[in-house]
Amino acid sequence: MNVAHFEYVQRLGDNALILGQRLSEWCGHSPFLEEDIAMANTALDLIGRARMLYAHAAALEGQGRDEDALAYGRDERQFGNFLICELPNGDYACTLIRQYLVDVYHHALYSTLCGSSDAGLAAIAGKAVKECAYHLRRSGDWVVRLGDGTAESHARCQAALDEVWAYTAEMFNGDAIDDAMAAAGIGVAPGSLAAAWRDEVEAQLALATLSVPRDDWSASGGRQGLHTEHMGRLLAELQFVQRAYPGQKW
């Protein structure tokens, strides 16, 4: 087994699962009914993507683990998702700003992964990129509506942007696993996505009359399993049933 290959795919799954879990917290609590359904749809897209990636990673590993073992059977330090995915939702502006910043990244990432030399990963990417295109349309739309909306919605968006901006740099700072996978034609060097991401985000923020925050500090550690204080609580909720009743089935 190629450990880097397994880890790379598993991390992609971690980003999808953790962000999907966060978004699902809005189910039943969104500002209005139509938005509630749309947000839950996005959460389900991400969790569905996590299932495919975990199943693929488990097959690469070949140790008899399955998607559930990877989702429910690992501890905080074994998850390699970006910190931005695990941050609390905050208000609706904060959720949508975070979503937009990640959607731009994911859309570019999965577009490129469609050409992966790992045929299984390329097939998953082919499905994911269509979902990403829609997620991006929705979140990009909301960023402009709220950013260029009322004084209050603008202020909330700017505050959210200032809050999560420092967590975006991590998406582009790859490690040895990313480098090895990019060199093998399986994965993408995250740094190669940075310039286009920045251009696209800055253009959209200008439309939304929002200011790009200063890059004076940034947080990282997700890839290495060094998470924020919010991750443990998220996993406790996500994994509770399987931890309390291991192997339990519906």
């Binding site: 500002p31 209005f32 139509e34 938005e35 359904i37 749309a38 739309d141």
Partner: protein, 94 residues
């Protein structure tokens, strides 16, 4: 949260190519673009459609219940308006 509702929109979905758009429900949205996205998320999440129309409900003019007797009852006794009084030649395939 605002207690004021966004404008109401009617949603029409075409379930398959070759079929007509059918009214499927309504939703609230700020404008057509948002109505289209909400319609996609609310009404096509189980592969119900291949095409969506959204129309502002206020742009629909509906017949009124009190007009029913004048509008619809007179057609009730005019069976000759149905194309059932012709002899169709054997050779004609319908």
């Amino acid at each position: 949260m605002s207690s004021k509702h966004l404008p109401l929109w009617e949603v029409f979905i075409r379930s398959r190519r070759g079929l007509d758009h059918k009214h499927i429900g309504s939703l609230h949205a700020a404008d057509a673009a948002q109505a289209m996205q909400s319609a996609r998320d609310t009404y096509t999440r189980r592969q119900e459609g291949v095409s969506i129309w959204v129309v502002r409900s206020s742009d629909i003019h509906a017949s009124q219940f009190e007009d029913d007797s004048a509008f619809f009852d007179p057609a009730a006794d005019k069976v000759y308006r149905h194309p059932t009084f012709y002899d169709v030649p054997e050779e004609l395939k319908l």
